[in-house]
């Protein structure tokens, strides 16, 4: 049904195929328009125009029901964090040769293993590493890397291939799947919150941007204190000021999330001191919102200044110290209320830096780099292959772990998104890393696994006296496999128990049975299938 009303057909006549595209693009807004009409009592048709006309596949709508109170905090290390001086290959001669003035001596590093040590600025990470609450994923990157800050950031947040310009973010697509009717029926709390930063694409989905942006911590504190984003009192003493006051008042009244934010901040305080700085302040704000049980799945904070072309050791030291101490404080704070277990924190940066130092005591834009995953829910340790300084490309490291592998891990094991839906969000299938201690096991859904329900022909067939019967389940559940003779009399029950999704095999021994045709039949949550086999004595 075309919802373009009087001119819908006109577009079709005039623009042919373009109309279908317009239709998809506009059905959401038509819905909005019509929802006004519905409220007025008119009956409007929506058949054929799903609310989510723009994004994702049908699979996505199925995973929305997975409830978890787990939270992901993303810390963007903006500017391109130098990986080699963060997780130092402390015994690698090539490293020391490439960086005669800025390499970090083995003796200074915080030892993680025989080969690697942390930057000395990260003293406070000793304990999490020892407790198994810190994972280091080596050499994360993507094929055909770009050295542009903006472009590479866009690739990281959109999870696209480097030659694809994607206008939505991986987190936005994930959240849209959790809130498929976000536009028409937004939740009480924002699905995502970013404090003190703006990464344009990250929370952008096809239908809307699902991120609430608090561009500075002061605004958060103002709202937490019961204030509003815009002050209608403090306007110029003119007609312009009067009209501005009017619009500001309306704007304040339009912010659905003020109430949720205020309730959450009323319910919680920070119980530790954070280091000074915008990023620690932002993390403190996140902690307060998480402890106050704001129903928000993803938070984003940003730490800028990693573009260390000059005086890297001074600049990066300060930044890594801030990062480590802020994250340590963050988990102490969360643990005070038992919330530490449900919060996973992950860093990302648009790229690492050149292997060789430059002439200014710094490093230039590079490629692959390690990232950190913090939290009580982390299997601490190393993942992926460490940086290979021998086989390089134009003086840059090759990646060993695709960044989307980390996203897939977080989505599937931390948030419990089914494998097929993860592939949908990421636009491809990626392995997962075993870095979540307590992964949510996703119940399989129809069409949601690589398996299709099937009862295969037995082998061998004909047989004497034994044969194997193979069947595949798309979902786990109680299964029975029974053998009948040609007249339908039950001969035996081979299987009658719960089985997992996947392929299973049962042996049938026909020792005392006469020659003839037998029927075998499997019953499972997927349905019922029957096959015939022939016993030839």
């Amino acid at each position: 049904m075309c919802n373009h009303h009087h001119s819908g057909r006109a577009i079709a006549l005039e623009e042919g195929k373009a109309h279908d595209h317009d239709h998809a693009v506009w059905s959401r807004r038509d819905f909005l328009i019509q929802s006004g009409l519905v409220a007025a009592g008119g009956a409007m048709m929506l058949n054929g125009t799903p609310v989510r006309a723009l994004g994702g596949s049908s699979l996505l709508s199925h995973l929305a029901q997975l409830e978890t109170d787990r939270v992901l905090v993303l810390i963007q290390l903006s500017g391109g964090n130098d990986g080699l001086n963060t997780v130092v290959p402390k015994t690698n001669d090539l490293y020391y040769a490439a960086r005669p003035t800025i390499a970090i001596y083995e003796s200074e590093t915080i030892p993680l293993s025989d080969e690697y040590g942390l930057n000395p600025a990260m003293q406070s990470m000793k304990a999490p590493w020892g407790d198994g609450n810190l994972a280091v994923v080596h050499s994360v990157g993507y094929p055909s890397p770009t050295l542009s800050h903006f472009r590479s950031t866009d690739i990281w947040v959109s999870a696209s291939d480097s030659d694809v310009v994607e206008n939505t973010g991986w987190a936005g697509r994930f959240l849209e799947s959790k809130y498929p009717d976000y536009v028409t029926n937004p939740p009480y709390a924002p699905p995502a919150v970013q404090i003190g930063t703006s990464v344009p694409l990250l929370f952008q989905a096809g239908s809307a941007n699902l991120g609430m942006a608090l561009t500075d911590v002061d605004l958060f504190l103002e709202i937490a204190a019961g204030g509003t984003p815009y002050n209608p009192e403090d306007v110029p003493n003119t007609s312009y000021g009067a009209e501005l006051a009017y619009v500001r008042t309306v704007a304040n009244g339009s912010f659905r999330y003020l109430d949720a934010i205020q309730k959450a901040t009323d319910a919680a305080v920070n119980s530790v001191n954070y280091p000074t700085g915008q990023m620690p302040d932002a993390l403190a704000a996140c902690a307060r919102l998480i402890k106050g049980r704001l129903d928000t799945r993803i938070f984003l904070v940003s730490l800028g200044g990693f573009d260390t072309h000059v005086d890297q050791n001074v600049e990066q030291h300060k930044l890594l110290e801030t990062l480590s101490e802020a994250v340590t404080a963050f988990y102490e704070d969360l643990s005070a209320t038992g919330d530490g277990d449900r919060v996973l924190t992950m860093t990302f940066s648009e790229f690492g830096r050149r292997i060789a130092e430059n002439g200014s005591g710094g490093t230039d834009h590079g490629t692959a780099a390690p990232l950190f995953v913090f939290g009580h829910g982390v299997n601490g340790g190393f993942y992926g292959d460490g940086p290979d300084l021998e086989n390089t490309t134009s003086g840059n490291l090759n990646f060993s772990t695709d960044f989307r592998t980390v996203y897939a891990t977080v989505l599937q094991d931390w948030f419990g998104v089914s494998g097929a839906a993860v592939s949908d969000v990421l636009g491809g299938t990626f392995e997962t890393l075993p870095l979540v201690t307590d992964p949510i096991v996703v119940p399989a859904e129809p069409g949601d696994t690589p398996y299709a329900f099937m009862l295969a022909q037995n082998y061998p067939n004909p047989f004497n006296p034994s044969t194997a019967i193979t069947y595949t389940l798309s979902q786990p559940g109680r299964v029975s496999l029974r053998i009948f003779d040609e007249r339908g009399r039950l001969i035996t029950t081979l299987v009658d128990e719960a089985k997992s999704a996947g392929t299973h095999r049962a042996l049938f021994q026909a020792d005392n049975l006469p020659s003839g045709v037998y029927i075998y039949r499997v019953e499972a949550p997927d349905g019922v299938q029957t096959q015939r086999m022939t016993l030839v004595r």
């Binding site: 903006s78 608090l214 002050n231 003119t238 309306v250 704007a251």
Partner: protein
Amino acid sequence: MNRRSFLGGVSRSGEVGSGAVGFEYLPGIFADDERWTNAHRTRPKGEISPTPSGQPLATTAGLEPYVPTNESPWDRRRAYHLLRRTGYAADPAAINVALSGNPKAAVDAIVDAALAARFPATPDWINHPPPPDNAPPDEVQVFHDLNDLWLYETETEFYQESLAILQAGTGLRERLTLFWHDHFVTSLESTRTAAWLYRYWAILRKNALGDFKQFVHEIGITPAMLFYLNGDDNRVGEPNENYARELMELFTMGIEGPDGAPNYTQMEIEELARVLTGWSVDLYDTLEAVFVPEWHDNENKTVFGQAGNWGYDDLTTLLFTQRSESIAHFIAAKLYRFFVYEIASSEIVDELATLLLASDFRIEPVVRTLLQSAHFFDDVVIGARIKSPCDLVLGLAVEAGFDVNPAVFIEFRQGTRLLGQRLYSPPNVAGWPGYHNWVDESSLPARWLHADDFLPKQRTLQELALAMPNPYAIDVLVADFVRHFLPVQLSQRAINSLVALVLNGLPPYEWNPNDQGAEGRLFSLVRHLVQLPEYQLT
């Protein structure tokens, strides 16, 4: 059979214009207003009295020509003001052109271009014969389908003409056409036939800056108006006073004159209705208005004390000789509210009314004088108008530097509908209530939603940046973007925050507007700008 419904086809749907959306998010940027600057803060306190909403502008500037001074220079801010109020918005090139001469020349260029603008070729289809009553259903269906197409073309023509300001600088005429649509209201719901809509719109367009008396004459006997206000039912012996009443109350003079005295009595409405009897529409052949002498009341009528066997051709003489003062004030006030501020200044309106009388109700000299006046360019005028949905939707497109193409016109029509200004469908004969009614807790998030939806699809912000004076210096560029999108400049501190927003942790030297990722950063900036309450003002 109802021939009009037959021609117009079954109503495809009722539609509402306002988007009752629940979509909300917090774009919040700066909490306290100390961080904002405004152009007025240097005005010494006490010099002007508090000006709450609902008060006229506090300025002593009148209709005397605006002469730039150090205090009110002819600068980018005022050039944007002129171009926004006459053409929704401006691209940087148009600002440069305006600033290359003096403000008088800039206004003359805009008004002259509107006067000289060629009219779009009248489409052949307005003479397409409608199917007869006994036509086979297929033929009727084909007509309805064509009618849909023509309605769409009519709307598209509006967008093309409106945005002619970009190419030919002629957009003022169509902007005024929309103003007159909001004045001489008809609704598509009452006609649904493209030929009638087109003829009605052509009258608005032709007279937009022309002779108001001629305008009044023509509008009353166009089929759309004859149907909308029941002129086609107004016959001898059974007069229908609907049009006569609205003609006086809403289209010309208002209920009361400038002195507060009533302009007419109920008896005069009834008498005027009798003057207007006899008009109908040929529903079978030409679809034109026709005068049917036997339906006209051929007796004497007394209107405004003037007795005679008046007919339609006497209408404007009666109105404009007997109620010229009232009409001049009524129309002057409406023009003032459109170009300057919702709450009219009675002194300026008096002067404009005098001008209108002196020009024998020609609109163009009044508009030109108003636009060239010190009053129009006064500080207090800038930014004091609340944007209509067309202002917002078309303005955003111009500001973002969109590519003119049919897909964008679809964005326009859907966007303006979502925000509550569906073309050809004002809510009632009084037009869109406008002003504060445009912005409320559901339409404001819808405005944000529109910008969120529209901007990423355009991907033109890098081009816009490169058209700015210094796109490589991010702090300068941000300030220029603020000036480009908002009627007031923000404080340096606010600009610094926006710079930080764009850079997102990078050092300023890493900024390059040609970088592939720059589009997203600029979107992030513009998204914040257009979500600011300031953006709702123009």
